[in-house]
Amino acid sequence: MENIIEIKHLSKSFGEVKAVQDISFQVKEGELFAFLGVNGAGKSTTISIICGQLKKDFGTVIIDGQSLDGNIDKIKNEIGVVFQDSVLDKALSVRDNLQSRAALYDITGEAFRKRLCELMKLLEFEDLLKRPVGKLSGGQRRRIDIARALLNEPKILILDEPTTGLDPQTRKTLWDVISTLRKEKNMTVFLTTHYMEEAADADYVVILDSGKISAQGTPLELKNTYTGDFITIYGVSEEQVQVLGRPYEAIRDAYRVSVPNTSDATELIIKHADMFNDYEITKGKMDDVFLTVTGKKLNGGEKE
């Protein structure tokens, strides 16, 4: 897989505030890339630079083999963005909104009608076409936001906290659509989110803290590096668990034992084979990774 986004030594300051400090990372074509960080970590600044809305101070940004410097208009044609809050015109109908935005990519007339049909089929919003965007429910509006981001058939879809505030059903629908697009169109998805379960599904994760990259890797690499494993043992007494000599916690019908890594878990199981009749080994969660790396918890957008 080739890199579709390459960022090297990117920096951006607003007066005294260093929003982004010398960050470098790559996003491979077709992958789901997650960008994690609390509010103010520098995620939105980086996205705004990629989208050509902010000028960088230093560094290079290469999108699909083209440098951002001097190719901004070409690059804008390859990017679609779903913003955290719907930014469509609430007073206008869904059709008027999509038509006015499509024209900005020079998609008009028959080309627009064709694209609209494709998007209506994909996102099932034919019945909403004449309704003002301001009268739609949160989930319906999100579907239209995605349709708007996909108007220009982008190679890179940037999702800026797309599921914040959505109900689980709508969140699932959104991810189903994105998954279909990735499979069928090999679309690269650049995601910022506060939901760790969404980040756990990513192919690659970058954690940003105070404008700097604190950690990066696949979810597995991050979990292996920054968290241990957990062995959940069922049908044993607390005295038996204490014999293992590892930290543990009691849960409803079992005990969860913390181990530094999977090989340590294997050693324990071999040594105390008699008590491991019903058990499971799980990796640490992305929440634990984030907490270890930044010392902060991500909780629906709030820093703890």
């Binding site: 050509g52 913003f83 990519y105």
Partner: protein, 296 residues
């Protein structure tokens, strides 16, 4: 310019869909018309009557038409600029609700976006000001009609030029605004101040000499004078035909700013047009350049 037509359509649609914005813009000239007809009209009438030498008979219809011409020209001079400020709110609303981001991630150029806002505001402001001009013509028809077809066309052309000026000025000022509160405050300040500094509420000839000189540097002064010249041309022609002395007519023209002086040099109508259209070109140029350099 890819997307310009679509942006103009979108911006104009949003203006007329926002009933609050539309009626606020429409109500400004209506309030001014009522204010002039009920209050300022009497002041102007008395002022006119006293301008003639004692014993000289002036037909009431001619006097009413003169007052009406002054009222209508003042009304149009003020509302072409104040309505522009009321109508030109979308560029700030787009910043406030984040829509601006959705427009700037597209390949559309900053200059196209700027012109989209400018032309859409021009259309909506022009529509309201033409309605105001229509109401003004009806009022003149009622109190005394002395306008020729050419005068009417010139008044409409003056309105068009002044609206272009008002929209360009409001676009530059609103460019720096980022909240609804700021833009409302600017609208209120402009609405209350502009009528005074352009000579609509009170003729500039009544101000102190220093202030007159300072105001002669503002393009709005000449826009008001153009409208006044064309709105009162018929009345002065009738006076001349009725045999009123040339000195009295010229004196009246001086008093009500039909004649405007730049450091004692009388400014011709053609020069006034040059100043106004030149200002429009310069202001639009500044606005476009500001938008080209916008990316932070």
């Amino acid at each position: 310019m890819i997307g310009l037509g679509s942006l103009i359509k979108r911006n104009t649609k949003l203006f007329f869909k926002d009933k609050g914005l539309f009626f606020t813009s429409l109500i400004t000239p209506l309030i001014l018309l009522v204010l002039y007809a009920t209050f300022l009209g009497n002041v102007y009438h008395d002022s006119f009557a006293m301008s003639f030498p004692e014993g000289m008979e002036v037909p009431e219809k001619l006097l009413d038409a003169a007052v009406g011409g002054q009222l209508v020209s003042s009304l149009l001079a003020v509302c072409c600029v104040t309505v522009a400020f009321c109508s030109n709110m979308l560029m700030v609303q787009d910043k406030v609700n984040g829509t601006r981001k959705d427009l700037t991630i597209t390949p559309v150029k900053g200059t196209t976006m700027a012109l989209g806002y400018y032309i859409a505001t021009l259309i909506s402001t022009l529509l309201i000001c033409l309605l105001a001009a229509g109401a003004g013509f009806l009022y003149l028809g009622k109190v005394g009609w002395y306008l020729s077809g050419k005068d009417v066309m010139l008044i409409l052309f003056d309105v068009f030029l002044l609206v272009m000026f008002g929209v360009a000025l409001s676009s530059i000022i609103n460019f720096f605004m980022s909240t609804q509160g700021q833009i409302s405050a600017v609208g209120s300040i402009v609405s209350s101040m502009y009528g005074f500094i352009c000579g609509a509420y009170m003729p500039i000839s009544q101000f102190s000499e220093g202030l007159q000189k300072a105001l002669s540097f503002l393009p709005g002064t000449y826009a008001t004078s153009l409208l006044r010249n064309h709105a009162m041309q018929g009345v002065f022609a009738e006076m001349k035909a009725d045999g009123y002395p040339k000195e009295i007519i010229n004196g009246l023209r001086d008093v009500i700013d039909c004649n405007v002086y730049f450091f004692d040099q009388k400014v011709e109508l053609s020069t006034m047009y040059l100043i106004l259209s030149g200002s429009v070109v310069v202001l639009i140029g500044i606005y476009v350049v500001m938008n080209m350099m916008k990316r932070k």
